[in-house]
């Protein structure tokens, strides 16, 4: 959003090209900087990379964007698991394109994080060392082809519900990345629905496969919105900073309300005996989420935590010689072209 001339950006320290590119360090933490930041947030304006921002705001964003990027990258694994086994060539092509999109989302998000002064390499190290997290949903295994449908419909559906409000996030690069990510996620969600629709209208074995996948992914999908607001460590501050626009519980309720009629269209039963329309609330009531399970899986005790990180680590370690070669080649050829230019 364009900002008036009366509220100029805080200039980066010095005027060199390097300083132009590097995210600014606050020249001081004076009250006027904080005031300007607060005013921007209050006016629903965007904070940009070279603007001054409180350390906590920067840290929160780095944590959240990195976690989001890691989720995209780790999230490639459960679906990548079915690329070589997709049951038709058309489905194989769609699945490859989808997993490729996820890698692309990871790259946008790492780039958005880099505008805050961190490196992708460092963030990946933190992921590999277990010091930064990713969405807990990807710690569940994909046991049948129908899981591709359930992930698209429910997991991508929940992700969209979380991410659409992030398009209005106060931090510009993150919000803008989310606009594109959400457009692609919406395709992903529809393709998931389409897979399940085909299966639930197919042979009895296919119908059973679809129901089983939804049975396994329904509750973990509800957990994707995070713990109830009163137990969420970050919600209040993130809301005040305009990073988070809606609470976990509200998003979860919206998701349930949208899924119920879609499940009916799919002819699939959602595995919750307490699910029923509440006329007074104008929403569906639903059963208690097992928060102990979420805590357990986040802490590492999920079916695939070890496997997911191990795959990332081994890809990274086995690829080290390739990245080193690319760096060595670039140095060699940069030096020789510089020498030619000087000759």
């Amino acid at each position: 959003m364009h900002r008036g001339v009366d509220a100029p950006r805080t200039p980066a320290v010095g005027g060199s090209a390097a300083a132009e590119q590097a995210p600014a360090k606050p020249p001081d933490t004076g009250a006027h900087l904080q005031q300007r930041f607060d005013a921007l947030i209050a006016d629903d304006e965007r904070i940009e990379p070279r603007d001054w921002m409180p350390t906590g705001y920067r840290k929160t964003l780095i944590r959240q964007i990195a976690q989001h990027a890691h989720s995209e990258i780790i999230g490639m694994q459960p679906e990548g698991n079915w690329i070589t086994r997709a049951p038709s060539l058309r489905r194989k092509a769609i699945l490859i394109a989808k997993v490729q999109d996820e890698a692309g989302h990871g790259l946008y998000l790492y780039s958005a994080a880099e505008t805050l002064g961190v490196d992708r390499e460092d963030l990946l190290d933190l992921l590999h060392e277990g010091k930064q997290k990713y969405s807990s949903i990807f710690n569940y295994p994909t046991l049948s082809w129908a899981d591709m449908g359930a992930i698209g419909w429910l997991v991508d559906g929940a992700a969209i519900m979380n991410q659409v409000p992030l398009c209005r996030c106060s931090y510009g690069p993150y919000g803008r990345a989310m606009v594109r990510v959400c457009k692609e996620e919406s395709f992903h969600q529809r393709q998931g629905f389409d897979i399940l629709h085909t299966l639930s209208h197919g042979t009895p074995a296919q119908q059973a496969m679809a129901q089983d996948a939804v049975d396994r992914f329904w509750w973990p999908s509800l957990m994707m919105f995070g713990p109830p607001d009163e137990r969420s460590a970050h919600t209040a501050q993130s809301t005040a900073w305009g990073i988070k626009r809606l609470g976990n519980d509200e998003l979860r309720q919206r998701f349930v309300d949208i899924c119920v009629p879609q499940a009916r269209a799919l002819d699939i039963t959602l595995p919750d005996p307490d699910l029923r329309w509440n006329e007074n609330r104008g929403h569906y009531d639903f059963g208690a989420v097992d928060w102990a399970e979420l805590t357990r899986v986040i802490k590492g005790d999920g079916p695939c935590n070890e496997q997911r990180i191990q795959r990332r680590r081994s890809a990274h370690e086995e690829g080290a010689w390739v990245r080193e070669a690319a760096d060595a080649y670039a140095r060699k050829h940069h030096n020789s072209s510089a020498a030619e230019a000087l000759a």
Partner: protein, 261 residues
């Protein structure tokens, strides 16, 4: 008995040869797409997950067009999925190069350099095919393959002229894949029956040699002199590796006969 000794009408001979030719091209792309799909989530960096997936996707698209067309020419009512999922190992017509395991990134890039270099010349030649489907496919595919080839060239240069380790690995990758080169340029029996429709593989060799020679030299590598060579893929004679790739690719489709996906 007499029917089997009767000369097949010329039209049917051409049709059989053409269906076989199309299957050969289709299977090359399909099997390599399958191999490249194995890389996804295992690549040295995220950009390469994207690049390898993208090449797989292009090849899969080519395979689908070619398989559908082969099915029509064959006239037995088989669609792209019947041909991809319901044929056995001995019915596949791909060259052996595309079925060998991925190995490390250098083996994969050596294979891609060889194959994309070949496919680039192939599709360029097919631009003037008198078959409108083949000419149309070639017009689209040649642009895709130009990128695949460029991607492989850049990596072979970086790895060949990168570090000592990458140089050694890249040379080993070339040594490992070179026995599969000759087969690409071998004249398959049916091609003679398809003048102006098919491209004679042998005619693609000089341009490929010249291109490869330049890249290998720039990459400070040496063209291998293998002591053996692969043969027989176009006639359904494969490596043992294909017999492991196909069950993985086909199992789900075969487990649910007649189901739609």
């Amino acid at each position: 008995m007499s029917a089997s000794t009767t000369a097949v009408p010329a039209g049917d001979l051409v049709r059989t040869a053409f269906a076989g030719y199309l299957l050969g091209l289709a299977d090359d792309s399909l099997i390599l797409a399958q191999r490249l799909g194995e890389w996804v989530t295992r690549a040295p960096q995220i950009e390469e997950d994207i690049a390898l997936a993208n090449i797989a996707l292009d090849l899969l698209g080519q395979a689908r067009t070619l398989l559908a067309c082969a099915g029509k020419v064959e006239g037995l009512g088989r669609d792209e999925d019947d041909l991809a999922f319901l044929r056995d190992e001995r019915e596949f017509r791909n060259v052996q190069l595309v079925e060998i395991p991925n190995g490390d990134f250098a083996v994969t890039m050596a294979r891609q350099l060889i194959f994309s270099g070949y496919q680039y010349e192939l599709y360029r030649a097919l631009l003037t095919s008198t078959d409108p489907m083949l000419a149309g496919l070639a017009a689209k595919a040649v642009k895709e393959v130009a990128y695949h080839r460029d991607h492989a060239v850049q990596w072979v240069r970086r790895l060949g002229d990168g570090t000592d380790e990458s140089h050694t690995r890249m040379q080993t990758g070339l040594d490992h894949t070179w026995p599969y080169v000759e087969e690409l340029f071998e004249r398959a029996p049916g091609v003679a029956a398809l003048p102006r429709i098919a491209a004679d593989p042998a005619s693609l060799r000089p341009a490929w040699d010249s291109f490869i020679g330049t890249v290998i030299a720039e990459a400070t590598l040496t063209i291998p002199q293998p002591t053996w060579r692969a043969r027989g893929g176009r006639a359904g004679y494969h490596t043992e590796y294909l017999g492991h790739l196909l069950p993985e690719m086909q199992y789900l489709h075969r487990a649910h006969p007649g189901a739609s996906w």
